[in-house]
Every structure is written in structure tokens, then in C-alpha cells.
């Protein structure tokens, strides 16, 4: 149990925004919503778990047969037709209590869902840099290909840190699931279907995107780099890209040291045992 | 129970309805009306066969419920899945 409590504290320690922030504003990213909601569920879940399990253990100890008081009055007899053992009121109360907790939690979760599903906030002002950047993500065995609005494509995602990023995700072969754990973002990549999600990068860093749906031999290695750049720097980089710079899976168009190999080449490392 | 005359009448009705379904397709009614009529006729035919030829009308009602629960299961799958398409 103490592990779970430790975990809870640890989760609270992360930068979960306070509830008031969450309750204002219409649209929220998953990285705002998820840590917040997850910690609420974790605390309540741990609490309920501890109460119920302790009660269970307490009852087990309290009413264990001690060999002295041997028989109960009115104990069940062999061959009797089954009957209930009473105590229906207690049962109803417990059920109502747990129902209230669960329904309240889920309603709140649904309310937050609406914020995420709403997509990035509407842009009212003119400055170009506030408009969301739309990138198409195509899952292919076993890499993620990113296609920018100007037609440029790459196996590394570069995004600016000053505007929302809208991702449209699909697949060119089998089902995959695209996820960037750092931004608590995840959605399925399905052939012939589009799914969308969005996020709001806030610091320049390099994070990792993973695949979360078994998609074949290279599934474990199906990762890609997501490079979050300074907005102005991004604009300069983006201006010099063109649509014909389509990479082959084994080389990346991006020049930097982070250039990523297509994961297929990395599969060779594994021993063959089976 | 051996009611040959009734069975024959039902057979004729089924025959006529099947023909009507193709005829309806030939008449250029609206697509939706045609679909409604054709499926409607199929349902009536199915009820006739199940009710008389399979004796569901005279069997205990519980057997009909077994059949209906299977049907309901299939319909739930069909409609919810189709509805979920974005």
C-alpha cells in the first residue's frame, strides 16, 4: 500500500495545474487534463482501496473461528434451499456510496473530455504565430512519417514552442497508436481513417514518440524524435523546406545531429532465439 | 396441427411477396421508400415462416424470446457499429 501512496505523492509533485485553472477556459490539452485527473483518481482510488481492504482484513481477523465458539445459531444446513443472509440495508447504503463516488468522478472526467475534444483554442488575433500548426502523421511499419502543410515530409517531428500543434494521424499499412508520453497524447493510427489530437509545446526540448499498438516485428523500436524549437527558429527552418524533400526511410532530411535512422535498420541487433 | 391448407396459403403469400420485392425495385420509387418496402416485405415473410412453418406461434413464448434475443444482439452490433462511423 505504501508504494501506492508514494506514487500518489510523486504524481502530485509533478506540475499538475490547480483545479481552478482547469475549470476555466474551454479548451485544454491532454497534458493539462491528464495529470490533474489522474492524481484525483489515484488519491480517491487509493483511499477507497485502503478503506475497503482494511475493513475486509479487519473483519477476517475479528470473525475468524477461534475454536471456542464453535457453531453459529441458525447455520446453513446441507441440502437446504439457498436463501439470502439479510443485511440488505447495509448493502444498499454501500452501493449508493460507491455509486456516488464513481458517477461524480466520471462526470467530471467527461466534462474535461469536452475540453480536450474541442481542439485548440480559436484564434482571434492576427499574429501568424498563434495559428495552430497542422501536421499529418503517418504510421508505417516501423516509423512515423510527418507531413507538413507545405508538403515537406520527415521522420522527425519539428514543431515550434509558441503555438498549438494539431496532429492528424493515419496509417499506410496496419494499425498503430501514436503517442508522445511527455505531452500525455495518444491516438490510434488506422489505415484509411483519420484521427486528430493536439498539444501545446511549452519549452524547447527533444522528446520521444512511441507506438502503443502491436504492429509487427519492429513495434518495440517504432519510436521517433519530436524536436520542439524556438518559434522564430522554427519559422526559419520551415521556410527553407520544400515539398520535394521527401526522405527515404533510411535517411532523414533533417540535418542536425539528432537525425534518426529508420528503425528497421536497428532490428538487426536482436538475437534470434525462437 | 397438421393444417395443410394453411401451409399452402402461406406458401403462396411468400411466393407473391418475393416477386413483389423485385417488382418494387423495378418501379422507380424513392430509394428510401423502396428500401423500407423491400425490407418490410422480408420481415413479414420471415415472421410467416418462423411463426407457422417453425411453429413459433404455437410453441411456448419463451422460445420466441430466445430467438428474439439473438436477433437483438445482432441488431445491436449492426446499428451501433454503423452509427459509430464518423
Amino acid at each position: 500500500m505504501s508504494v501506492l501512496v508514494g506514487l500518489t505523492v510523486q504524481t502530485f509533485g509533478t506540475s499538475a495545474p490547480p483545479a481552478t485553472v482547469i475549470l476555466q477556459g474551454q479548451s485544454r490539452t491532454m497534458s493539462e487534463v491528464f495529470p490533474h485527473l489522474f492524481s484525483i483518481f489515484l488519491v480517491l482510488g487509493t483511499l477507497v482501496g485502503i478503506v475497503v481492504l482494511s475493513y475486509m482484513v479487519y473483519v477476517a481477523v475479528r470473525y475468524r473461528a477461534d475454536g471456542e465458539t464453535d457453531e453459529l445459531k441458525d447455520s446453513p444446513q446441507l441440502g437446504e434451499l439457498p436463501e439470502g443472509g439479510g443485511d440488505g440495508r447495509k448493502l444498499a447504503v454501500s452501493l449508493t456510496l460507491s455509486a456516488i463516488i464513481v458517477i461524480a468522478l466520471i462526470s467530471y472526467a467527461w466534462f474535461l473530455l469536452m475540453g480536450v475534444e474541442g481542439g485548440p483554442p480559436e484564434v482571434s488575433g492576427e499574429p501568424n504565430s498563434d495559428k495552430p500548426l497542422s501536421v499529418t502523421v503517418v504510421g508505417e511499419q516501423f516509423a512515423w512519417k510527418y507531413i507538413y502543410p507545405n508538403g515537406n515530409s520527415s521522420y522527425t517531428l519539428r514543431v515550434p514552442d509558441d503555438r498549438p500543434i494539431e496532429l492528424t494521424i493515419t496509417s499506410s499499412d496496419v494499425m498503430h497508436t501514436y503517442g508522445i508520453p511527455k505531452y500525455d497524447l495518444k491516438t490510434d493510427a488506422i489505415p484509411a481513417q483519420n484521427t486528430t489530437t493536439w498539444f501545446n509545446p511549452d519549452e524547447t526540448e527533444t522528446v520521444e514518440a512511441n507506438c502503443y499498438e502491436l504492429c509487427g516485428t519492429g513495434h518495440s523500436e517504432m519510436t521517433s524524435e519530436v524536436i520542439i524549437m524556438d518559434g522564430a527558429e522554427f519559422d526559419r527552418w520551415y521556410a527553407q523546406t520544400t515539398s520535394d524533400a521527401t526522405p527515404t526511410p533510411n535517411e532523414s532530411t533533417t540535418e542536425g545531429a539528432h537525425a534518426m535512422d529508420h528503425p528497421q535498420s536497428r532490428l538487426a541487433h536482436n538475437h534470434v532465439l525462437v | 396441427m397438421a393444417n395443410t391448407k394453411l401451409y399452402t396459403v402461406i406458401y403462396v403469400v411468400l411466393f407473391v411477396f418475393a416477386t413483389a420485392q423485385v417488382a418494387i425495385e423495378g418501379m422507380s420509387l424513392g430509394f428510401e421508400l423502396a428500401v423500407g418496402l423491400i425490407i418490410g416485405l422480408s420481415v413479414v415473410k420471415a415472421v410467416l415462416v418462423a411463426g407457422y412453418y417453425q411453429h413459433l406461434f404455437t410453441e411456448p413464448r419463451s422460445v420466441t424470446y430466445v430467438v428474439l434475443s439473438g436477433l437483438l444482439t445482432a441488431l445491436a452490433l449492426t446499428f451501433a457499429a454503423s452509427y459509430s462511423i464518423t
Binding site: 489522474f38 470473525y63 475468524r64 455509486a99 502491436l214 513495434h219 | 420471415a46 445482432a74 462511423i85
Partner: protein, 831 residues
């Protein structure tokens, strides 16, 4: 709810549908033939032959339990291979493909070949005892279910030797599962093995439902059934429908793999979503299918070892009932990350949360039963208690996944892995408790108590050490061997726990094995406070279970003298003497034979598209299957239906007919899922843009006429049989046969015509759905014709004149095939 009770005069009931009451013509050729096919004597326990021939529910139950434990070892070894791989955060032990095969087969074996069959071992053994039946309604079909199960598992094992087993996860997502991405024959074999398993499950479902609805001891109304029996009843109802949807999914997938249809890969249609719908429509009820029996066993153990009756028993049953119904309306919570729309997500989030509440009630009910009891912590109760303990953790962590927003992030991670292992293996824990609980009844001996307790503590410790760290390391993506290095410690803990749990399982098996010789012998009721009927008879029970006719009419269990049993409804007719001396048969070689035939056939089918050795294997398998089916049909196997029984709500019809109807209900779901797939793909494609495959509807219309006429002929045959007109029956059946053949010829011409226009199964999705759906219907027609072909010579001998039921049962099937066509015709030819 009125309690109907019928005094059924026809006490002798054919088993399996076609075989009719033995005729009173001992010298006829047919009887010689039938005697040749009949092996009626049951060899003693020690002989291997007994286990190959037995149809007795207790023997079959033991076979199920033992076989399931073997598969547990198989699946467990695979799990440990994975855990060894996960000791380090990089792939260094298994190959990438090897890891995927291990993951997939572990899941498939544990869910299908271990969990349910383990539970159904107990169901086989205990349910007839608890309801007061001598055996299941169709004992040969029960043996058939077992042998199909065993051979489907062997087929799965063989897949590893055919270029590699299935490697797309137990959820088998398309299109990864089609040959483009997974070309090995072994993957096809795995899918066919699962198909064979589903057939076994369907046979078993029909059998259990008929038994439980029609063979309960007088006075044992549905609401008074013991909880284990209740849990099995609801499980089997769910199985009947859920597995039919899975069968549709598997048939379509097999066709995509073997025949080249393009359901899951066609352009312009949501093929991969189709798979997720079909699979999860089965998959969520499956969660309860594997868990309910454990829950029922838990309830029994809680009552026995607390010495108290279950608190809120009625509400416990109502909760299970609600869950069983609603389980078919939550499947899309597995698809929250796909492209389904927001409305449906919201709807399924609500139904999902709704289905969790009845479980709260059941948990509280079990806990409150302990209050003021006298808890005896025997080994079974330790396991039941431990199971409830971890189930609570599994339940709470499951609520996280019901909240869509959390699911968005938790999906595809170890949170899910940890959660469902907490739930599923909690069920296993309860079933291990059930194994200890019923062990004295099955064997007549007590397990080693000290070893039992030791096995529990190792089990409990291993379990938590294995699965709890997974919650902490939840950010690990599922099914990868390459995970963030900082989580290594947790995964290493889990591996240690895995080995501990594996060792605990071995200890359980060892204990059960050794105690067969070493255990002290026990009385009929070694647990004080056990109330259900299995504890009122010797351990192990005699072949036909009860010393007299069990009855609860007096308010508690009595054994009445069979001959003098009477009810308020009048006296009971004595069973009509059959050609045997009124005794039941308990042995048949044909279930085993049919299973071997199916096994060989399916093995052949797995590679039949590649030609070579697989073609002769297919032919041999088909031939073997035909011969053994014939043997099954001709064998005279007698089963007595109880003269008096609680039969609500099916008092008005006999076992055989109810069995046929229950089977047809599952067939409705099978065809429904095919039609549903068609509608779904067409809706995704654009309903009106979809072009109908046949060039004109006239061949279809002619076939409609043909089928309608053949239905009419079957009706006339039945009328003739009722009136005792031999030639009327023969004429009706023969015309049906000819019309059926005409139907197939007409269809053949139509198909060949389409092939000439270069329209093949693989051409496009329209052609795929057309050929496969009408092809499945055609297969049903062929099957019907095989039955008619079997019936005509018997009709010539006058077989159906004093018992027309086989004609009626065949009619039910044939009219059903007719009705299906009434819908396929407009859907595929007109609209």
C-alpha cells in the same frame, strides 16, 4: 415467474438431434449397422479406454480440469519467457518476432485454452450435481466439446512448427493479421485452431443451456439455484451469443487469409475498424465469461467457510444478470482512441460505468457475508479471500480506464496490463480455490493442508510482486521489449514475482497429484456448512450420481424412490422401456473420432492455399469427419430425460427441440454479424455508391422460389410423418433434396458467370462480401442436404412414422436457412 413442472411421457430422448429412438426391428440391416457403430460399455477408471470413450459429465469434467492445467503450464512458460526478456530494458533474449509470438500465444492460451475450460471443468462436474441431474442433456455432445477443445489446443501448438505462430497479439487486430503482413501458415493455423475452439464452445453452450433449463430437480426453481450454477447459467448465455460474433470474425479472417477476400484491407472501407467491432463485441462479454464462474465459486466458498448465507443473495443474482445483459453494450470502450464519434464514446462511457456498479454490490455482499460469521481459513477460503482482495484492486484501477480522458493516455500501457491481470488472475485465484474446494469431492481424498496453505501464500505474494510493480511502471508501452531504462527495477521485481507465481502453480498441481495417493480419505461432506447437493452424495459420486430422484419439494433435498415419485400434478409415468434395458449409455467413440477428423481437416485447411501436402491432408480430414459423423448419427445411444423436473421457462418443449432452437439463436448472431459487417462496410463506403455484385436479380429470385418451395416440402413431410404416411415423408424429403441441389446449381451457374466477368472473391469489397456471405449461406444449404441425405433412407425404412421429431428438428434448421436467404436476397441482389 411460475414454476412449471411437466411430466414428460417421452422419457427416452435421442442425443444429438438426428438419431431417433431405436426401432423395434432388431433384424433389419440398419440395426446391424448401428450395432456395429455402438460401444456402449464403460471401461473401469484405470483403463485408458475409459477416458477416450467416456461421456459421463464427471469424467469429462476431470478431463477438462487436467487439460486446462496442462495449457496453464504452456501459457505460463511463455509468460516466463517474456518476463526473462523484460529483465533488461533492451531486446536481448528473444527475437523481435519471437517476442511477438510469445505475447500473442500467451494471451490466446490463457484466455481461451486455460481460463474458461478450467472453469468449465468444474461446471461439468458440479452443475449437474447441484441441479440434481444424472448427466448433461446430451452427453455425447459434451464429450465432443471436450475433444474438440483438446484438439484445437494441439492444433495451436502445431502452429509453431509451420513457420511461426500468430504474432499479432491476442486481439488479432486487422490488417496486421492478413497474409500481406503475416504470411506464415502457422498464423492461419492459430486462427483455425481458435475457430475449432469456438465450435467446441458453441456445442457446449447449447448443451449446458438445455440441461440447466430443463433438468433441475423438482422444487429447484431458477431463483433457488446455487450461486455457482447461477454464474454458469449466465456465463453460458453470454457465451452462446458472444462466441457467435467471434466465430463470424474468425471466419471472415480465415477467408481473407485463405480465400483472398478483402474485408479488412479493401480501399475505401473501414476494414480495420470492422475487426475491432467484431472482436470487442465478443471481447468484452468474454471478460465476464471468464470471470463469472470464479465469482460463483467464490460465493459458494464464502458461504461454506463463513458459515453464513450470502448477504443480499437476491441482489447478487440480479447484479450478475444485469452485467450479463449489459456486457453486450460496452464494447466500444476498447475503441476510445479510434475514429469513432464523440456521441458514441459518451454513450459507451456511460454504459461502462453502469456495468461497474453491480460489481460493487457483489463485492460488498461477499464482504458483509463474513461479518458475524465463523471464518475458517482453510486453503480454499484463503484463495477465495485473496481473490476478492486483489479483485478489489483490479476493480478500482479499472474505473480509471472507464474515464475516457484517462483511457486516452493509459491505453496501450502497462496500466492496462496490470489492471486486467489483477482481474483475470484474481479469477484464476478463485478457481484454484475451487480446485481445492471440490478436490475431496472429485477424488474422495483431502489435499495436503500444509502444502495447500503454503501454496496460497506463495501464490498471493507472487501475484502481487508480479503485477503491482506494473502499475508503478505503467508508462511502459504494452508488448514491447524495449522500455525506458529507469523502469528496469520494477520490471525485475515483476519477473521475480512471475517465477514465484509459477512455482506456486506447480505446488498446487503437485499437491493435487500427490494427494491422489497420500491424501486422507474423506466423507461425503468434509466441509461443515456446505449446503449444495454435491455434498450430499459420496465422494467421488457414483456413475449416475444420486441414490434416488433428487427433489426439493419438501423445502430441502430428499432422494425419492424413482419408481414411486409423485407430484401434486399426478403420478409419474414410468420411463418407456427402450431397446436397452432402460439404462443410460455412458460411452461413445465418436466424439473423439469427430474431433480427430476436424483436427486433420483444419490442419489441411491451414495450408491448402499453398497446395502440396496440405491438399491430401484436407481430403483425408474431410473423409474422416464424414465417416465419424455418420458413426455418431447411427450409433444408438440412449439417454433418459428426467420424468419430473423444474423446466421453467421451457416446460412446453423437449430437450432436443430446445437444443436446436438455442443453436439457431447463436446461428442468428453468426449471420447477423456477417450482415452487420456488410452494412458497416457499406455505410463506411457510402451506401448508394456501393454497387451490387450480381448483374441481375433474377437468378436470386429463382433461388428464393426454390428455397420457399423446399421449405414447403419439409412442412409437408412433417405433416405426412404425423399422419403416418411413409411415402409422404419420403416424397417430401426427396423433393427437398432435389430443390436444394437445384439451388446450389443455380448459384454455381451464377458464380461461374461472375468469374467469367472477372469478378472474384478478391476483386473488391463488394465482391468479397457478396461471395462470402452468400457462400456461408450456401454452406448451410449443403449441410442441410447432407442431413436430408442421411434421413431419406431411414424414412424409407419408416423411421419417422412413430417419432417425427427428427423431421421437425431438421425443418427448424431448414426454415432458418430459408429465412436467412429472405434477407440476403434483397440485401445482396436488390438494394
Amino acid at each position: 415467474m411460475s414454476d412449471d413442472r411437466s411430466t414428460d411421457e417421452s422419457a427416452v430422448q435421442p442425443d444429438g438431434g438426428h438419431a431417433s429412438r431405436p426401432l423395434a426391428e432388431p433384424t433389419s440391416k440398419q440395426s446391424t449397422l448401428r450395432r456395429f457403430f455402438t460401444r456402449d460399455d464403460l471401461p473401469p477408471y484405470g483403463a485408458l479406454r475409459r477416458w477416450l470413450l467416456t461421456t459421463n459429465h464427471k469424467d469429462v469434467g476431470v478431463l477438462y480440469v487436467v487439460t486446462a492445467l496442462l495449457f496453464l503450464v504452456f501459457g505460463g512458460v511463455l509468460a516466463l519467457l517474456m518476463r526473462i526478456e523484460l529483465l533488461t530494458p533492451v531486446g536481448d533474449f528473444l527475437s523481435a518476432d519471437g517476442y511477438n509470438q510469445t505475447v500473442s500465444t500467451h494471451g490466446l492460451i490463457m484466455v481461451f485454452w486455460f481460463l474458461s475450460p478450467f472453469a468449465f471443468g468444474f461446471a461439468n462436474y458440479i452443475v449437474p450435481l447441484q441441479i440434481g441431474a444424472k448427466d448433461l442433456a446430451f452427453p455425447r455432445l459434451n464429450a465432443l466439446s471436450y475433444w474438440l477443445y483438446l484438439f484445437s489446443g494441439i492444433l495451436l501448438g502445431l502452429s509453431f512448427f509451420q513457420g511461426g505462430s500468430f504474432s499479432g497479439g491476442w486481439t488479432m487486430y486487422a490488417p496486421l493479421s492478413v497474409p500481406n503482413y503475416m504470411p506464415q501458415i502457422g498464423s492461419t493455423t492459430t486462427i483455425l485452431a481458435l475457430t475449432l475452439f469456438v465450435i467446441s464452445v458453441t456445442v457446449s453452450s447449447v448443451n449446458f443451456l438445455t440441461t440447466m433449463h430443463r433438468m433441475r430437480a423438482p422444487g429447484l426453481t431458477l431463483r433457488r439455484m446455487p450461486l455457482f450454477t447461477w454464474s454458469i447459467l449466465l456465463t453460458v448465455w453470454m457465451m452462446l451469443f458472444a462466441f457467435a460474433a467471434l466465430l463470424a470474425a474468425l471466419l471472415i479472417l480465415s477467408s481473407d487469409r485463405i480465400l483472398g477476400t478483402t474485408y479488412f484491407t479493401a480501399e475505401g472501407t473501414p476494414g480495420s475498424l470492422l475487426w475491432t467491432h467484431l472482436f470487442w463485441f465478443f471481447g468484452h462479454p468474454e471478460v465476464y465469461i471468464v470471470f463469472f464462474p470464479a465469482l460463483g465459486a467464490m460465493a459458494e466458498m464464502f458461504q461454506t467457510f463463513t458459515g453464513r448465507r450470502l448477504v443480499g443473495r437476491k441482489w447478487f443474482i440480479v447484479s450478475m444478470l444485469l452485467v450479463a445483459l449489459q456486457s453486450f453494450l460496452v464494447w466500444m470502450h476498447h475503441m476510445f482512441l479510434t475514429s469513432i464519434n464523440l456521441q458514441i464514446k459518451t454513450l459507451f462511457m456511460i454504459t461502462t460505468i453502469g456495468i461497474s456498479l453491480p460489481f460493487d454490490l457483489m463485492v460488498f455482499s461477499l464482504i458483509y457475508t463474513m461479518v458475524k460469521g465463523r471464518l475458517r481459513f482453510t486453503t480454499p477460503f484463503l484463495f477465495a479471500f485473496g481473490s476478492l482482495f486483489v479483485f478489489i484492486i483490479g476493480g478500482i484501477t479499472g474505473v480509471f480506464l472507464g474515464a475516457v480522458v484517462l483511457d486516452y493516455q493509459l491505453r496501450g500501457t502497462y496500466w492496462v496490463v496490470a489492471h486486467f491481470h489483477y482481474v483475470m488472475v484474481s479469477g484464476v485465484m478463485a478457481l484454484v480455490g475451487a480446485l481445492y474446494y471440490w478436490y475431496p469431492k472429485l477424488t474422495g481424498r483431502m489435499y495436503n493442508r500444509r502444502l495447500g496453505k503454503l501454496s496460497f501464500w506463495l501464490f498471493f505474494a507472487g501475484f502481487n510482486l508480479l503485477y503491482f510493480p506494473m502499475f508503478i511502471a505503467w508508462e511502459t508501452p504494452r508488448r514491447v521489449f524495449d522500455y525506458p531504462a529507469e523502469l528496469t527495477g520494477f520490471h525485475q521485481l515483476a519477473t521475480v514475482g512471475g517465477f514465484l507465481l509459477g512455482f506456486a502453480f506447480l505446488l498446487v498441481i503437485w499437491n493435487c497429484y500427490r494427494s491422489l495417493w497420500d491424501g486422507e480419505t474423506v466423507s461425503s461432506n468434509p466441509w461443515a456448512h456446505a449446503t449444495t447437493a454435491e455434498w450430499a452424495i459420496p465422494s467421488p459420486p457414483p456413475l449416475e450420481n444420486f441414490p434416488g430422484m433428487p427433489s426439493y419439494e419438501s423445502g430441502s433435498l430428499d432422494f425419492l424412490d424413482r419408481e414411486t415419485a409423485s407430484t401434486d400434478g399426478g403420478t409419474v409415468t414410468k420411463p418407456t422401456p427402450s431397446s436397452h434395458d432402460g439404462h443410460d449409455s455412458h460411452a461413445s467413440p465418436w466424439p473423439l473420432g469427430i474431433s480427430i477428423g476436424s483436427f486433420v481437416l483444419f490442419l489441411g485447411l491451414s495450408g491448402v492455399a499453398t497446395g502440396g501436402i496440405y491438399v491430401p491432408i484436407t481430403i483425408v480430414g474431410g473423409g474422416l469427419l464424414a465417416v465419424t459423423l455418420l458413426g455418431f448419427g447411427l450409433e444408438s445411444f440412449s439417454v433418459t430425460e428426467p420424468a419430473v423436473a423444474e423446466r421453467w421457462p421451457f416446460a412446453g418443449i423437449e430437450n432436443g427441440k430446445l437444443g436446436v432452437w438455442i443453436f439457431l439463436a447463436s446461428d442468428i448472431v453468426l449471420f447477423g454479424a456477417f450482415v452487420g459487417s456488410y452494412v458497416f462496410l457499406r455505410a463506411g463506403y457510402g451506401w448508394e455508391a456501393w454497387k451490387i455484385v450480381p448483374h441481375n436479380p433474377i437468378p436470386g429470385l429463382i433461388n428464393t422460389y426454390i428455397l420457399l418451395t423446399s421449405s414447403f416440402c419439409v412442412v409437408l413431410a412433417l405433416v405426412a410423418a404425423q399422419k403416418g404416411r411413409r411415402w409422404g415423408v419420403v416424397a417430401g424429403l426427396t423433393t427437398t433434396l432435389l430443390l436444394g441441389i437445384a439451388f446450389l446449381i443455380n448459384k454455381g451457374i451464377e458464380w461461374i458467370e461472375l468469374f467469367h466477368h472477372n469478378i472474384w472473391l478478391s476483386t473488391d469489397v463488394q465482391a468479397s462480401t457478396f461471395f462470402l456471405t452468400t457462400g456461408l449461406h450456401g454452406l448451410h444449404v449443403v449441410l442441410g442436404l447432407v442431413i436430408v441425405l442421411y434421413m431419406i433412407p431411414r424414412a424409407l425404412n419408416g423411421a419417422y412414422l412413430d417419432d417425427e421429431r427428427p423431421v421437425e428438428y431438421f425443418g427448424l434448421y431448414w426454415h432458418f436457412v430459408d429465412i436467412v436467404w429472405l434477407f440476403l436476397f434483397p440485401l445482396f441482389y436488390i438494394l
